[in-house]
Amino acid sequence: MSKDAVTFTIDGVEVKAKPDQTIMEAADAAGIYIPRLCYHKDLLPGGHCRVCTVRVNGRPANACTFPVNSGIVVENDTEELKALRRDIIEMLFVEGNHYCPSCEASGKCELQAMAYRLELLTPQMPYAWPKRELDATHPDVYLDRDRCILCGRCVRASVQLDGKRVFGFENRGAQKRIAVDSATGMGDTDLSAKDRAASICPTGCLTIKRQGYLTPVGKRPYDKVPIGSDIEKKQAAG
């Protein structure tokens, strides 16, 4: 670590970071898991889901965009934050139409896995039952908006990783939805199934056709370990 390394604490644990890192990056490097959904390490942060909200010197801030600073006191794994994050996951479940048992993303879905990790039982908030449009016009990729959590990963990945602009947002508030760059459907965009944007979705909203249910139950990413274990493993190893 260079001499301008920054030192701060997360839940009392001292963490060293590079000055240009965010709290999320520094925590990941130190093997401390901060729950997140819209964040992806290969993308610029979007700040949509707010699941990564931590308290910085007592004030709420999202870890994915907040820069580290020497001496800051970060709270992460507290009962208060866990409850607040769980509320957000619950909001996402009642806002969309998520049917886990039949969904091909089950077992690798980050929304589902986060619900397990944060110990969300059955949602009690009122369901919205929205009517959302499905787009199956692309030969190789499905867009099932029922499962969309508006994390914007596909929007960012298309621009930042694929050099395209296949996805965007449309409308505002509860009517906000993922839009595609054509006047008709996703089939008329330049999306390829090989694009990162096509497979970076944390839920089953964007899926590759003819790939569903290939992994047997028991071998799916979150069947045996909770989401975030890969990051925490680093700490155990280090």
Partner: protein, 592 residues
């Protein structure tokens, strides 16, 4: 026809220098000409700008004044904000529906007239009000409606209608804002000082931002001035959208010169060459007079190159129109919007003073703040600081509306108690006073001794009086509905949380709620407040939270005294199926 449209799009895009940052202006111009923005127009616009259609759609679909469906030649936006409904907007709305034979959201079969609702348009003191093709109509009564519709149908000039009138309604002018000042007086004082001393003078006046947050203006200017960038920008936030606020309207009607004077002084202080006034779409009718004032100031050498003979000090101002989005009053959302994008707030840091308009250091200041700054330059920081209270110097403009005898704009020294204010405006019997609009707080009579100031009860200017006969919870419901409508949808807690708050509140109001629903309202309110990305979400639960606190009996009276009642209405859910199947459960002796 298609070719005509394409060439119109191309010309419009050319007119704005093929600049993607001017997409708001381009879309506004095309919408004004075509009446709506079709997918075809969106496609051509994207092509002419060399961007993707999904980017153009992203932006235009965000703003409530842009339609993507064909609309009538005349578009009526009837305001349905809380105060407007107190004053009879619903009856006026029904009169329009009857007269036009359509519902809200529809267009007459002959494609002549479209009828919409809209959030607060800054005319709560002259409610009910409407915008008809952008022209404000005030003090409407149901009996006015047939005449208005007839005039529209006969193609008469709407400006000649007797209701097309806006009174600036300044009830009590003060010494800071509504006092005379010679054009250029503050600028001439400023240019004889260094920019640092200008900032120092503002600091002596201890001026704090009038938008509501109260950040020290001198500190903001100093940060901005010192931040490195290719250019510095000064932005005047004239997007007052808080329901019940209309004080900036009065300033822009009565003393626009003072605002532009303040902008120029600020430009000098922070080292900006360009100033932008972001004017809310609802105030488009003020644009011609504002442009005339700007032209006059350019002519007098108060804008342009070497202002007032000061070598090297160049500053110009352009007015950026908005298109109907409350969230754009939030400074980072405003900057996104001014850059021709959807008005989604940004994460901070970086702050606008570091990375603002086009990523350059930018100071965003409220209309009233800039007026105060100009006055401080003219009369001195000490004089300014001699008014007001301990942490809140100077005067504050209050927009008072609702159940009172004298609604209008009052310029009063900070520190005035709510009691004194309601006596002054003729509302001594108020049940509650909503200070700071829905995002502020609802004060009960036990709090009327508190003072309007940053240290006690701050406000951006909105003061809504709720009289003794009103159903206060209905006001709370409408405020909450407003946040649902205006949430930008970027982050989960605000997008989804506001809807759930509304549903839970409605359950309580319909008498189906239990104690656990009240607990849920408080818990969820706290989540939305803590987890939301910007001020909109962070304050969206305030109407509920502050009334649960101040008026617990109102909630208690509505709930069932059971531990838990389901949200799901089984009977109601069965109705649809029974109707489809032609069954009547009661006749069949089935009780649910």
């Amino acid at each position: 026809m298609a070719e005509d449209m394409r060439s119109l799009v191309n010309q419009t895009v050319e007119r704005f220098g093929k600049d993607r940052h001017r997409l708001m202006d381009i879309a506004r111009a095309l919408h004004a000409r075509l009446g709506y923005l079709s997918e075809e127009t969106i496609g051509h616009t994207a092509q002419a700008l060399g961007i993707h259609r999904v980017e153009v759609r992203d932006m235009v679909s965000f703003y409530s004044f842009f339609s993507r469906k064909k609309q009538g030649k005349t578009v009526i936006h009837l305001c349905n904000a809380v105060v407007e409904r107190m004053k009879g907007a619903d009856a006026v709305g029904r009169a329009f529906e009857r007269e036009l034979g359509i519902h809200f959201g529809e267009t007459t079969p002959d494609d002549a007239i479209t009828l919409h609702h809209t959030a607060c348009i800054g005319l709560s003191d002259q409610a009910p009000s409407a915008l008809i093709n952008g022209i404000p109509f005030t003090n409407l009564k149901p009996e006015d409606v047939p005449g208005i519709v007839k005039a529209i149908r006969e193609g008469e000039d709407m400006l000649n209608m007797p209701q097309a009138e806006v009174d600036s309604n300044v009830r009590r002018p003060g010494e800071v804002i509504f006092a005379p000042m010679e054009r250029g007086a503050a600028i001439r004082k400023a240019i004889n000082m260094t920019p640092e001393s200008v900032i120092n003078e503002i600091n002596k006046g201890r001026l704090r931002g009038r938008g509501g947050a109260g950040f020290p203006t001198a500190m903001k200017w100093d940060f901005c001035r010192k931040a490195k960038g290719n250019a510095h920008y000064l932005v005047c936030n004239a997007d007052e959208g808080e329901p019940g606020t209309f004080k900036d309207r009065a300033i822009l009607q009565e003393c626009p010169d003072l605002v532009f004077e303040g902008m120029t002084v600020a430009g000098y202080a922070i080292g900006a060459r360009e100033g932008i006034m972001y004017l809310r779409g609802e105030y488009e009718y003020l644009l011609p007079s504002l442009e005339r004032v700007l032209a006059k100031r350019r002519h007098l050498g108060l804008l342009g190159e070497n202002i007032c003979g000061c070598e090297g000090f160049s500053f110009n101002i352009r007015i950026q129109m908005g298109a109907g989005a409350y969230v754009c009053g939030e400074e980072s959302a405003l900057l996104e919007s001014a850059e021709g994008k959807r008005g989604a707030p940004r994460d901070r840091p970086p702050f606008p003073v570091q990375k603002g308009y086009k990523g350059e250091p930018t100071s965003v200041n409220n209309v009233e703040t800039l007026c105060c700054a100009a006055r401080i330059l003219d009369r001195g920081g000490e004089w300014f600081a001699s008014m007001g209270s301990r942490d809140s110097t100077g005067t504050k403009l209050l927009s008072v509306s609702g159940d009172c005898e004298h609604p209008g704009v009052y310029e009063l020294p900070y520190g005035i108690t709510v009691k004194k204010l309601i006596d002054m405006v003729g509302a001594s019997d108020a049940q509650a006073v909503q200070v700071g609009g829905p995002s502020g707080r609802c004060l009960a009579p036990k709090d009327f001794g508190r003072s309007i100031s940053f240290e006690d009860v701050p406000t951006g200017g909105s003061v809504i009086i709720i009289g003794p006969e009103r159903d206060l919870l209905e006001c709370v419901r409408q405020f909450t509905e407003f946040f649902v409508e205006e949430s930008c949808g970027w982050c989960v807690p605000c997008r989804s949380g506001t809807t759930i708050l509304l549903k839970t509140l409605e359950k309580v109001m319909e008498g189906r709620g239990s104690r656990s629903d009240l607990a849920n309202l408080e818990k969820l309110g706290k989540t939305v407040k803590t987890m939301s990305r910007c001020g909109l979400g962070q304050t969206a639960a305030n109407p509920i939270l502050t009334t649960i606190n101040g008026f617990p009996d109102l909630y208690e009276a509505r709930i069932k005294h059971e531990e838990y009642t389901p949200a799901f209405d089984f009977k109601k859910a069965l109705e649809v199926g029974c109707e489809a199947a032609g069954r009547n459960l009661e006749l069949e002796g089935i009780h649910v």
